[in-house]
Amino acid sequence: MRRRLLAVLFLGASAVALLFLVLPVVAIFARVPPSRLLHQLSTPVVTDALVVSFKTTAIAQALILLFGTPLAYLVASRRFRGRALVVTLVELPLVLPPAVAGLGLLAAFGRMGLLGSTFGGLGLHISFTQTAVTLAVAFVASPLYIRTAIAAFEAVDPDLVAASRTLGAGSTRTFFRVVLPLAGNGLAAGEALAFARGLGEFGATIMFAGSLQGVTRTLPLAIYAEFSVNFDVALALGALLVAISAALLLTLRLILSWRPSPRTSPSLFAPST
């Protein structure tokens, strides 16, 4: 009897939780017919935001890969004093409230900021430009990539690295021919996570870069700007982001289930299916 009751309670709670998570997403598509959603997507507000979002996110991702990968590899492959501190510093932006992140970026790169005055002397003004959007996206999204990349590099069997060295490969060749291919899936997964996070960036961007249409107004900022003006356009933007996010999630799951190098130990990211 008590077991039945527990089962019913669990099922009920699960149903409520699931419904709560699904309802807002469904509501976006339910309110406006799909044909009108599609029509709204061609308005300049939407196309401008799309261009700004993808341009800044693409540059930010390139920067994250370029600077984050070596950092992740060093942290994963070396044991040094202060390593735990470095990991904590890398992860800090992940838990930082977005408003604080925006404030920090302003204090560092803003007109009156720590480095801002130096840049200003060189004629570089970062805040409220597309560069500011890129920096904000990179700041909030990079920890997701770096964290996953550290785990991916750590999962590469050290004996394979050692084998490569004894076979006459230097550390550079070993990195590109053994470490990178074997960590590849993990890196791609981290990149997909960072991309999703960057695309949805809102708080830090609006504080550090403002919301100028065609310059710094990204998709999330455009939703915020439009929902009091034209709710249908906001809904269309929302539907677009839902579609992109769903595609990213699907990609992520595909990357993680497709593993060319099965290990004997279960992967940290093994799909639940």
Partner: protein, 341 residues
Amino acid sequence: MATLSADFALPLRSFDLRLALDVERTVALVGPSGAGKSSALRAIAGLLRPAEGRIALDGEAWVDVARGVCLEADERRVGLVFQDYALFPHLSVRANVAYGGRERVDELLERFRISHLAKARPRELSGGERQRVALARALARDPGVLLLDEPLAALDAHTKAGVRVELQELLAGFELPALIVTHDYEDAVALAGTVGVLVDGELRQLGSPEELVAEPRDPFVASFTGANLLRGRAVGHENGLTTVRLESGELLYSTDGADGEVGVVVYPWDVSVGRAYVDDSALNLVSGEVGSLVQVGNRVRVRVGPLTAEVTGASAERLELARGGTVFASFKATGTRLVPL
């Protein structure tokens, strides 16, 4: 023939590994797990850095701590076969071999009978096949020395016997110094002409298998080598029994199959000692003088001719065993192992 000379000290977690030996042909380092065997190979390969000493191949110094020389792993001409083979899982068999060197890939694939697997990934291979790939890859590097880390440990018992013979043939036809690490004394004897017993980072004894069994330098070497080893030649097969003629001329029987030069391995605890001759075809009989009597716990180790037997203290008293008396040592054909030499 080249010579690998190693004389170095390497601090490990709970002790210092100290190794001094010259490897000309095949040398096996044998010892319990955690004795520092793998670390020794890794130091020679350049994956661990000795604190002092020298490692050189034919006078070319790889490590000379006093002179500040320590070549990187990729600068030493060494072929290291890892215990789990460490094949690159994302590369085909051919690409794995070619990783060591591109010149002789086809020849090596052919030689190790893995040409038909060239396109396969390591995960599709059996244990024996993986080992052949690992060996081919190590040789593709054109090494000056071959290092094998527990080459038989990752294999099941059935595969192991066959692979051991293959390895023997390979090493026999080799023009390179080879250092093998194993925890199995039988494997060491089968593969190497010189065996070193390594315990807690210390080389307790280095010698031929016969020397180690006949004159173990300390109790550990004695207990580790344990078995009697008699040299002989398989001269016949009948009714599931192999007849072996010992160098002394005596005939022994074993249920193991073998051909050519063999080592007869008998564990002392499988040997009984008696005063009377027993006529039993299932029993091997060796007569001889009692050479030595050593009390080990509640048992007595008796040396009878070329054999060491272990009997209970009670039966030693009952038999009135004493040095110089003639006795018969007997052991079953089923308890007699044959290892190819």
